[in-house]
Amino acid sequence: MKLGSIIPAPLRKPAKPGESDAGKGAAPADLKISPPERPSDAQRLGERATEAPADVLAWVDQRTAASGLLTGMLYRKVPKGTNWFYTLGSATLFAFIVQTVTGVFLAMFYTPSATQAYASITHINNDVFLGQFVHGMHKWGSSVMVILIFLHMARTFFFGAYKYPRELNWVIGVVLLILTMTMAFTGYLLPFDQRSFWASVVGININGTGPVVGPYLSDFLRAGPEFGATTLARFYAVHMLLIPGAIIALIGAHLYLVAKLGTTAPPWLRGERPKVAAPVSQLDAGVEGDGAPPAR
């Protein structure tokens, strides 16, 4: 079976003007010559069933007009030379998805209170089905995500991919990097063992030495002048509501710009210009000239 036939019709690759489906699929002309036998009820039901996904998609599409957008995204061309370096961004996104899913499961069992947090982690590790496994995935997934986001940034930097017209996407990416590091910082306290507790105390103190906003930032993080009972709840809220929300929104913007502007080609590649045709710049001038004759 061809790959194309699995995909429901509204999401198939749109045919180019020259290569329509005529002759490939069911040709209406055949129907006129010899009408097929009336299909049995079972056959009709089978046909209905196979068409159902396409019908549902068509129904949605009529109301959203999303299929054009989707096919445009799916079948847009990525430039020549796109290689494995270009998977680092989507790999970072995937690590984030792993963090989201494992984080949701951890949140079902975690208690963000200074007196119970430690015990709830013990409970997750020892009693909950696959608890330590999911906890471990979340813990190490953060390292993997940080590594991947730095690699993705290094690729973008060395390939000069942040230059025109993708400057804004670089800025969004740097903000995402900072937010990811903030996630790592706020998440580190949550297990509430000695190491995470004291590292957070020092970390907040480091923030406090900053000029002007430093002390306020520290007070905000601690929920007061002292590292107290509410500090953990505050870190928890920031870690699982505030920053993830911002990250998801910015990933949306990041991906929108990637789809709109396209991914870059490796910087050492040069496009081959068509040999016979006039340079593109002249073609453009010609198109403009068609509209209105130049005024004299």
């Binding site: 079948y75 020549k80 792993v98 430690y118 930097f157 000695q194 910087p267």
Partner: protein, 233 residues
């Protein structure tokens, strides 16, 4: 970048795009393979390395290592590289903030059209040096341990205070004789020459600057600690 350069880039990009392949299924296939690798690595790390708990957080003690997650080592190590107290804010906030601003604004000061790494010597060198610096600082952070004993002969009446210093993890940030990490904290070997006992005690209780406060230590331990440190001249 001049308008002509922008136009030239867009034309060049169109040409390369025409030669390219559709995102689906070609790029999607690579991305999916990479996603599988990512999950496999995370699962393997979780199974092999696990998620063991350390001892429960306790503000009143002792024997802890205030170490951040490894990917913050390079920031933490800046504090050890930059020693003088008056420069500490530079290390804690100044340099990271400047680096963040430089990173964020990169496309606005690097406006030349050239993209090949070999023809952007300044950018490529700066990038490589940054990677080397971060790797080196991370290595320093990973190898700098927290000694758990003090090899120093002291009078018997100061032994108790010495134990408190060891047990409270002071050596994670302070050098004392041959032991401890030289930074971010002040060297304690001759601390009594710098400040009197009352100031030592107050520093331990307040936690000036980035130092944590140890006010939750029992008063007896605090006094033993201050006696010991005040004897170091």
């Amino acid at each position: 970048m001049k308008p002509a350069d922008k136009q030239a880039y867009l034309e060049e990009y169109e040409l390369l795009k025409k030669k390219g392949k559709p995102f689906f299924p070609y790029a999607v296939l690579k991305d999916s393979a990479m996603a599988l690798i990512v999950v496999a690595v995370i699962v393997a790390m979780s199974i092999v390395l696990g998620a063991e708990q350390g001892p429960k957080a306790d503000p009143t003690t002792t024997s802890y290592v205030p170490r951040p997650e490894w990917y913050f080592f390079f920031l933490f190590e800046l504090l050890r590289v930059i020693k003088p107290p008056e420069l500490v804010p530079l290390a804690t906030v100044g340099i990271p903030t400047i680096c963040m601003a430089l990173l964020l604004l990169l496309p606005f000061y690097d406006r030349r059209p050239e993209r090949r790494p070999g023809r952007r010597p300044i950018a490529t060198t700066a990038g490589l040096l940054t990677i080397v610096a971060i790797a080196y600082l991370t290595y320093l952070g990973a190898t700098g341990g927290s000694p758990t004993e003090i090899e120093m002969e002291v009078a018997p009446r100061y032994e108790a205070g010495k134990e408190v210093v060891v047990g409270t993890g002071c050596l994670a940030c302070h050098k004392l004789g041959e032991n401890g990490n030289d930074g971010p904290g002040t060297e304690l070997t001759h601390i009594a020459q710098l400040i009197p006992r009352a100031s030592i005690l107050r520093s331990v209780e307040i936690g000036p600057g980035i130092m944590p406060s140890f006010r939750d230590l029992p008063p007896k331990k605090l006094n033993e600690l201050a006696d010991f440190l005040a004897s170091l001249d």
